[in-house]
Symmetry: C2
Subunit: 601 residues, 2 copies
C-alpha cells in the first residue's frame, strides 16, 4: 500500500520537506498550500523535484469554506477554484481536499452543499481533478464523516468523493460503533485517507488538532481499527499522515520523516497488510558501554562499586568490568562525546540476534557495520534515535557470534561485590523525539512502554517513561526535560541491582566512594510517613539511601557522583516493587544540582 | 495588605527562591514541601534565612488525603501530622494547608470529615498551629469552596478554618453567582487566600492546574472579583500566589518573582486597596533607537528608505535620522549586543513623562539613570522585560526636558520621503516571559493587549501579540517562538507608515535597495483570492509588496533586508485595516529564511 505524508507534518522549506519524505521512503506527499506559496520554486519545478525524488503529489489542500454559501460567494469560490485547478495541473496533482465549511456564511442546508459541491466537481472534472470532501470535527454544520458522506452521496458526481481523517473521526469518540458507518461507503468513493493519532486530552478539539496530533501508535486513538474498516471498503489510495504538531514543526525534518514512516510500517503490520520480520524481544542486558576520554575517574568509581576489570578487548582500548552478571565496557578509544564520559552502547541479550537486527532494519533503524575490525565477532547492531548503539548479543552461546570472544581474560579475579546485574538504564532523549523514542523501543525491540511520569527538577519539569520486557529483564527509562533546556543538564545513569543496598553502599563508602548526600529533611519526612525498625532510618540517613514503597513492595536506592554525563545507582527491589523511585527523584535531582554548584561541574 | 508567594511558583533551589521573593518585595512565602525536603538547610536555618530576608513563612503544605478515611488510616495521618507540626514549630510556620482528599479510601461523609479535621485541629492547636482546609477542584468528594466551608463550619473548631484558592473556585465556572457564597463565610474563618489565574482552556482540570496556571491578569479568570468578595468578609491574611506553571519552573527566579509581584500590585490597584501613580498612556512614538557596531549598512538602508541624517548628539556618537514624523537614532557608541545591530530603545511620547515613569517604577520596572551625561536632558526611562529601554518623551514641549535638545542640527535637509511615521515596532520577547511582557505593557504603559495569534514559521510556530493605544498611535507587536529555539532566529522590526507603499518601494529600489523577494506562487494565490485593477498585481509582484484585507480595510506592505537583528517594513493602511498582515507572515518568514541561507547570514 502506498504511503504519503503531508508537508505540514515536517519542518523547513518545501525542498527540505520533500527531500526528507523521499529519503524516509514515502511514495508521495500532500502539499499544504502555505508550503507552496512560500516556495521560490514554480509549480513545474516542484513537480520535477518530486519526480526526481520518486514522490507523487497525492493531494493538494488550497481551499476552505467552499460549500453551502450564498450564490455570489460561491461564484467567488468557483473563480478561486479555477485558479487552483490550473495550478494543480501545473503541479501534476489530481486530488483536491475540501474541508467542511467553518464560515458563518455557510447554511445548514445539505441539498445546497451537495449542489454546490457537484458544481465544483464539474469544474474539477474539466481539469482532470477529483474533489475529496472531508468533515472537520469543528465544521460549522458538517462535522461527522457520515454527514459528509451523505452529502457526497446526494451530489452523486463521479469527480466528488469523500476524504476520511482519523483525527476528525476519532477525536469525537472512540466507540467502535461510531465507525461502523464506514462500511457503508463504497471504497471507490473514498478518495483519500488521512491518518493522525493524538494523546487523549480533554481539550478544545481545534487546539488539540492544530498542536497535539502525533504519529499513529504514539497517541491514544485506535487508528488501526479505523484503517481496518476503511480497507474493508476496498479503498486502495495511499495511507497518508497529516500531523499538526508544534514540536515536529521545530524538529529536524529528516529524523521526523523516518519516525513518521516507521509509525506507518508498524500500523501496516498491525492491520495485516505488511509483514516485516517478527519482533524478537530481548531477554536481558549483556553489557553497557561507556566511552570516556580518561578512564581514571570511572575506574575509581567502578572499583569502589565492586567491579573488577576482568578482560580487555583484543584489538581496541576497551576494558570489560564485571560484577555478577553486570558487565560494563569502558572504551577510551572512540571519538568521545563533546561532553566527555557517557553511555554509548547497550548490548541486549537476544534469542536471535540476526532476526532482531533484521526487524530493526525493516523498521528503519540505521544499521551499524557488523564488525568493527576484521578479527571482531560479527555483531548485529543498530542505532537508537538518541544515538545510542544497540548490539544484539548472544553471550555464552558458542554457536553464535559472541562479543565476549573479542575480549581476552585478565588475571585479576572479581572482588566479592554486591551488585548482581543491571537493573535499568536511564537514557536522556533529545527533546524533539521523546514520543518517537518510545515508539522505537516498542516496535523495534518489542518492549512495553509504561505510563509517562512527570518529575519536578528544581530547574524545570522532567518527563520519564520506562520501556521494559514483561519480566523486567530489560528496563530502560527514557527521560527528557518537559521543555527544552540544555540537554546536558540531565545525565544518563546505570542502575545496578543488589540484594543488600546497605552492604553495597557501605562497601562503596569504605572503598573511598562518596554517595550523593541526601538532605536530613528527607529523612524526617520518611520518619513521618513510615515506621522503620530500630536504626534502619539512621543507616539510610548516614549512607544517603532513599526509600519508596508501592502496592507490591519496597525500593531502596542510592547514587554515586556524576562523571561527565553519567552516574550509577544501586537499587534493591523487594516484594515485586515495580517503579523506579520517581517519588524521590526531585530530592535526588536537587542534590545533584547542589553538588554541581559546589564543584562547579 | 501583605503579599506572599508559594515557592513552587519559582525556579531553583529553596535559597534561590527565597532570595528572589525577597528581592521582588514579597512579605512572605508559602513553603512547598518538596522544596524543603530537597534543601540541605535545616528548618531552623530556613527560618533564619527567611528572617534575614524579611520574609515570614505564611503557610506550609505537607499533607494530603487526611480526612474522611477509616480510623486506622486516620491514626497514621495523625502520626504523620504530629511530625509535621514539630517541623513547623522549628520552621516558625503557624498555618498548615490541608487539601480535600483525592484518596480512594476517603468516604463521602461530611460528618466524618468534620470530626477528623476537628481532631487534627486539636493536635495542631497543641503546637500553636492553625489548619486551613481547601477544596481541590478535583477533590474526590469535596470539590467546591462552599462544601469545604460547610465541613469547617460543622467541625466548629477554633484552629480549623478554610483556605480559598482562586484557581479551584474559578476553574469550575465564571458565573458571579458561583462566588456569592463567599459572603457567608466569616472573614476570621478564612485562614488563607491563594491566587492564580489561568488561560481559559477547555481541558482536564488537573492538567490545567498543574501546568498552565499564571499570574493574576495574565489569564482569563476574574481574580479581582473573587478578591473583592473575600476582602468583603473582613479577611486580612496575605494575598498569596500559588502558580504551577511549566515555564516558570524553568525561567530565572529573579525576573519571575518581579513579574509575580507586579501582577499582585496591579490586582491590588484593581480592587482598590493600593493606589500606585495613575497610568499615563503614551500618545505616539518619539523615536526608536538602533545600536550598531557599524553604521554603514544601516545608513545605506535608511538613506534608500528616504531618511536623512538631520542631527547629531552633542556628546555621544548618536545620529538622528528623520523622515516625516518617523525618527530613528543610530547609536554606534554603546556596548553593542552580541549579535550586532538591533533595536535598543524606544522613545514614547508622553503627556506627563515624570508621572509615567513614576508609575513604571511603582510597578517594579527598573529605572534607568535620568541622564546619561551631565549636559543631557533629564529623561525619565525604564527597562522593559525584554531589555529594551523605554524613554518617556516630551518632543517639542519646551517646558519639559527635551531629548531633541541634546541633538544639534546638521545642514543636510531631509530628502522628500514617503514614510510619515512609525506604524509599529515588533519586539522579540524572551521565551520565558512572553505573557509577562503583555502584562507589563498593559499595566505599566497603559496599552491594550490584543489577542495572541499563531504564525507558522517554516522552522516552528511563532506567537505574536500586539499592545496598542486606543487610537493606534502606539503599536508594539510582541513576538516569541511558540517553543524556545535560538531566540535570534526571529528579528525585531520597525514598520514605517506610508500613504503610498508603491511609491515608497520604488524609491527604495531606485536608490539601490533590494526589497525582500516574495515568491511568484504568492501572487498567483492573490490573483485567485481577490480581483485587482489592471497592472496592480504585476506592480506588487515586481516590487515584492504583500497584500491583506480585513473587514475594515486593506493593507499593503513590503520588507527591507535584515541587518543584524533588525529589518524595516513599509506599510500602507487603508480604510481602517486593524491588523499587521499576519496572514502573510509565513510567506515573509520563509522568504527571510531563504535569503539567510543564500547569504549565510
Amino acid at each position: 500500500m502506498r504511503t504519503s505524508i503531508a508537508t505540514v507534518s515536517l519542518s523547513g522549506s518545501l525542498t527540505e520537506k520533500l527531500t526528507a519524505a523521499s529519503r524516509a521512503g514515502f511514495d508521495g506527499v500532500e502539499i499544504f498550500e502555505n508550503d507552496l506559496l512560500a516556495s521560490p520554486l514554480t509549480p513545474e519545478e516542484i513537480r520535477a523535484r518530486c519526480a526526481d525524488l520518486g514522490l507523487t503529489i497525492d493531494l493538494y489542500q488550497p481551499m476552505r469554506d467552499i460549500e453551502a454559501v450564498p450564490e455570489d460567494e460561491f461564484a467567488r469560490n468557483l473563480r478561486r477554484a479555477r485558479h487552483k485547478f490550473e495550478l494543480m495541473n501545473r503541479l501534476g496533482a489530481d486530488t483536491v481536499l475540501v474541508c467542511s465549511s467553518v464560515s458563518p456564511l455557510a447554511a445548514d442546508d445539505d441539498a445546497l452543499a451537495a449542489e454546490q459541491l457537484a458544481r465544483l466537481a464539474d469544474l474539477a472534472q474539466d481539469f482532470g481533478i477529483r474533489v475529496a470532501y472531508e468533515a472537520l470535527a469543528w465544521g460549522r454544520h458538517v462535522s461527522t464523516y457520515d454527514h459528509a458522506w451523505h452529502i457526497v452521496e446526494t451530489a452523486g458526481h463521479p469527480a466528488l468523493g469523500t476524504c476520511l481523517d482519523s483525527f476528525h473521526i476519532l477525536s469525537r469518540g472512540s466507540d467502535p460503533k461510531d465507525i461502523e458507518g464506514i462500511a457503508d461507503i463504497p471504497g471507490e468513493k473514498i478518495f483519500f485517507l488521512q491518518l493522525a493519532d493524538a494523546p487523549l486530552l480533554a481539550m478544545d478539539v481545534l487546539q488539540w488538532s492544530r498542536h497535539y496530533r502525533c504519529f499513529p501508535g504514539q497517541g491514544g486513538f485506535d487508528v488501526a481499527g479505523l484503517v481496518r474498516s476503511v480497507l474493508h471498503t476496498g479503498y486502495d489510495g495511499p495511507l497518508s499522515l497529516e500531523i499538526f504538531n508544534d514540536v515536529f514543526r521545530q524538529a529536524e525534518a529528516g529524523p521526523t520523516a523516518v519516525d513518521a514512516r516507521r509509525s506507518l510500517l508498524v500500523l501496516q503490520e498491525t492491520v495485516g497488510i505488511a509483514a516485516p520480520p517478527a519482533s524478537v524481544a530481548p531477554t536481558g542486558i549483556a553489557f553497557a558501554e561507556l566511552v570516556t576520554p580518561d578512564a581514571e575517574p570511572l575506574s575509581a568509581v567502578l572499583g569502589a562499586l565492586g567491579f573488577a576489570r576482568t578482560a580487555r578487548h583484543r584489538s581496541k582500548p576497551v576494558d570489560l568490568w564485571q560484577q555478577g552478571e553486570a558487565r560494563l565496557l569502558v572504551n577510551t578509544g572512540t571519538a568521545v562525546r563533546r561532553d566527555g564520559t557517557g553511555l554509548a552502547a547497550i548490548g541486549l541479550e537476544s534469542p536471535d540476534p540476526t532476526a532482531a537486527a533484521r526487524r530493526a532494519e525493516a523498521l528503519l533503524a540505521p544499521v551499524l557495520p557488523r564488525r568493527r575490525a576484521p578479527e571482531d565477532a560479527q555483531l548485529d547492531a543498530v542505532l537508537a534515535p538518541d544515538g545510542t548503539e544497540l548490539f544484539f548479543c548472544a553471550t555464552d552461546r558458542p554457536e553464535l557470534p559472541n562479543w565476549r570472544a573479542d575480549f581476552e581474560d585478565i588475571a585479576q579475579a572479581p572482588a566479592p561485590g554486591h551488585a548482581a546485574r543491571i537493573d535499568h538504564l536511564a537514557l536522556t532523549q533529545p527533546w524533539h523525539h521523546f514520543d518517537e523514542a518510545a515508539l522505537f523501543h516498542r516496535s523495534v525491540l518489542g518492549l512495553h512502554a509504561q505510563e509517562s511520569v512527570d518529575v519536578a527538577d528544581p530547574y524545570g519539569l522532567m518527563r520519564s517513561r520506562a520501556v521494559t520486557t514483561d519480566d523486567g529483564s530489560v528496563r530502560i527509562a527514557l527521560t527528557v526535560g518537559a521543555a527544552p533546556t540544555d540537554d546536558t543538564v540531565h545525565a544518563q545513569h546505570i542502575a545496578l541491582a543488589t540484594d543488600d543496598v546497605v552492604a553495597a553502599a557501605r562497601r562503596f563508602a569504605e572503598a573511598g566512594g562518596r554517595l550523593l548526600p541526601i538532605p536530613a529533611n528527607y529523612y524526617d519526612d520518611l520518619a513521618a510517613r513510615y515506621e522503620f525498625t530500630d536504626g534502619e532510618l539512621e543507616t539510610y540517613r548516614e549512607l544517603g539511601i532513599l526509600y519508596d514503597r508501592d502496592a507490591h513492595g519496597e525500593f531502596r536506592h542510592c547514587y554515586t557522583p556524576t562523571i561527565g554525563r553519567v552516574f550509577f545507582e544501586l537499587v534493591q527491589r523487594d516484594g515485586g516493587y515495580r517503579g523506579y523511585g520517581a517519588q524521590n527523584a526531585p530530592v535526588r535531582l536537587a542534590a545533584q544540582h547542589a553538588v554541581r554548584r559546589l564543584t562547579g561541574g
